[in-house]
Amino acid sequence: MAGAVSYHSSGRVQTREKHITEAPVVRWILIGIAVLFITVMIILPLGVVMVEALKKGTDVYFAAISHSDALAALKLTIITALIVVPLNAIFGLLIAWAVSKFKFRGKQVLMTLIDLPFAVSPVIAGLVFVLIFGAQGFLGPWLSEHDIKVIFAVPGIIIATLFITVPFVAREIIPLMQQQGITEEEAAVSLGAKGFQVFWHVTLPNIKWGLIYGVILCNARAMGEFGAVSVVSGHIRGRTNTLPLHVEILYNEYQFSAAFAIASLLMLLAIFTLIVKSIVEWKEQRQVKLEQE
């Protein structure tokens, strides 16, 4: 997994005896280092976004996020996510089913290949689609004959975002479905359940929390993708600008407060995503506890 590591905290609290843990002084020094590192590296950048966004007052802030270009960017970002996330969620479910419920040759290779979009630089992801759909590209002449615009237009943004976020849902639910095994599904089939019924009534309830988090994470990445979209979009204001591209444009025009105001919206999206993750972890722990009782 070259782009995301799915790890859900188990919530277990270990109590350790004195001889196999560190001296209190060492413990507090280590905790101090960890807290300081995360504060300087993550919390301060988040704080600076809010402070810079509100530096010139709330009027400027609300003017920036309600500007017509910002609203157009928001609309395009939402449209992109509405197309990309369902497609990649369906793909994630399909491939997770094949990989976790069956044994076949080359499975390990396939699992590695799912991660390709993680391993590739976003700029290269954008470049690939310019080479295919651009004016000089393989399909370029055909597309211009039929008057279809992909590059420097909305379809290009959607395709590039699809590419970047392919693995997210799959990566979240494959480990879950592998862990669940196949006994419940086998039982359902032998009781006469048909294909989709098995999935809907047996598999889905077991993976629903993982699926929800996968979808939310995929959504956050789809809305926040910058590099790949930057290559294919053409930066046409009000037309092919997503929120992250709008941030860049405002920033390069020295409209810092406006840039940070838009950035703060994207930051809230990230925080919302992590809150969902915490809820999912909590639900998972409760499920494990219920099963143990």
Binding site: V13, I20, K101, S121
Partner: protein
């Protein structure tokens, strides 16, 4: 396949997902290599060994390597503290570690630049000491460190969680002090996870674009990373040049992807063998 499973849907799910991956990922990536064959070998070679291009590889590799190293050290400490100790605010700290996964890179880029610029919260402290972070290679390292934080923490964390106490108990009984137990008994069991986390962070760092462009200043030969050079060539309509550099980067990425998957496969085998 040894015996037919009674669970339905193998062919259709595998078929559809392979189809989807092929048209969206495999074929498009193959086009990079096909397109780079349009250049003659000599043209390709002179493009990918041009001094400015070579400098960009160096900047990308050195900064990604340094950032991954920083993350290995601090990631281990963060993971250790999160698993082994309890302290107020631990749950929040644990959740915040994932921020770099969820935060758009452009937001990270402008936030870090504001922080480390001459008049920024941190930059204004470093300025009198003569340390320049924003618009220097150091800035790239800061951005890549931010991007890479979750990788080491999240790969090491489950391994520490699953560690049994008995090896540490045995070390104590054999008379080892805590310090020695840690470095000679505990740490070696974490090497595979640390290496995996390092490689993941390194691979991500090489390809990163969004957060770096804002903080690096993008000076050719000094702070110009390879992805940015591809972007520059594209803007000059030099598609062949952009593709050649992309092909070189892709090969490096493929090797790193293969390496991390081998490492993870070995780790999961070891973990399942232990249990």
């Amino acid at each position: 396949m040894t015996k037919r499973s009674i669970i339905p849907g193998f062919r259709i799910t595998l078929g559809l997902s392979l189809f989807y991956l092929s048209i969206l990922v495999f074929i498009p990536l193959a086009i990079i290599f096909i397109k780079s064959f349009e250049l003659t070998a000599a043209e390709f070679w002179s493009t990918v060994t041009n001094p400015r291009v070579v400098a960009s590889y160096r900047v990308s590799l050195v900064t990604a390597f340094s950032a991954a190293l920083i993350n290995t050290v601090f990631g281990l400490i963060v993971a250790w503290v999160l698993v082994r100790y309890s302290f107020p605010g631990k749950k929040i700290l644990d959740a915040i570690v994932d921020i770099p996964f969820a935060l758009p890179t452009a937001v990270a880029g402008i936030a870090l630049t504001a922080l480390y610029a001459k008049n920024g919260w941190i930059g204004s402290w470093l300025e009198p000491l003569g340390i320049k972070v924003a618009y220097s290679p150091l800035g790239i390292i800061v951005a890549l460190t931010f991007i890479g934080i979750p990788f080491v923490v999240r790969t090491v964390q489950p391994v520490i969680e699953d560690m049994e106490n008995d090896i540490e108990e045995a070390a104590v009984m054999l008379g080892a002090y805590r310090f020695r137990t840690f470095f000679q008994v505990v740490l070696p069991t974490l090497y595979p996870a640390l290496l995996t986390g390092f490689t993941l962070a390194f691979a991500r760092g090489i390809g990163e674009y969004g957060s770096v462009v804002f903080i690096s200043g993008n000076m050719p030969l000094v702070t110009e990373i390879s992805p940015l050079l591809i972007m520059t060539k594209l803007e000059q309509y030099d598609y062949a040049g952009a593709t050649a550099i992309a092909a070189v980067m892709l090969i490096v990425s493929f090797i790193l992807l293969l390496l991390t998957n081998l490492l993870q496969w070995r780790m999961s085998r070891r973990m399942s063998a232990n249990s």
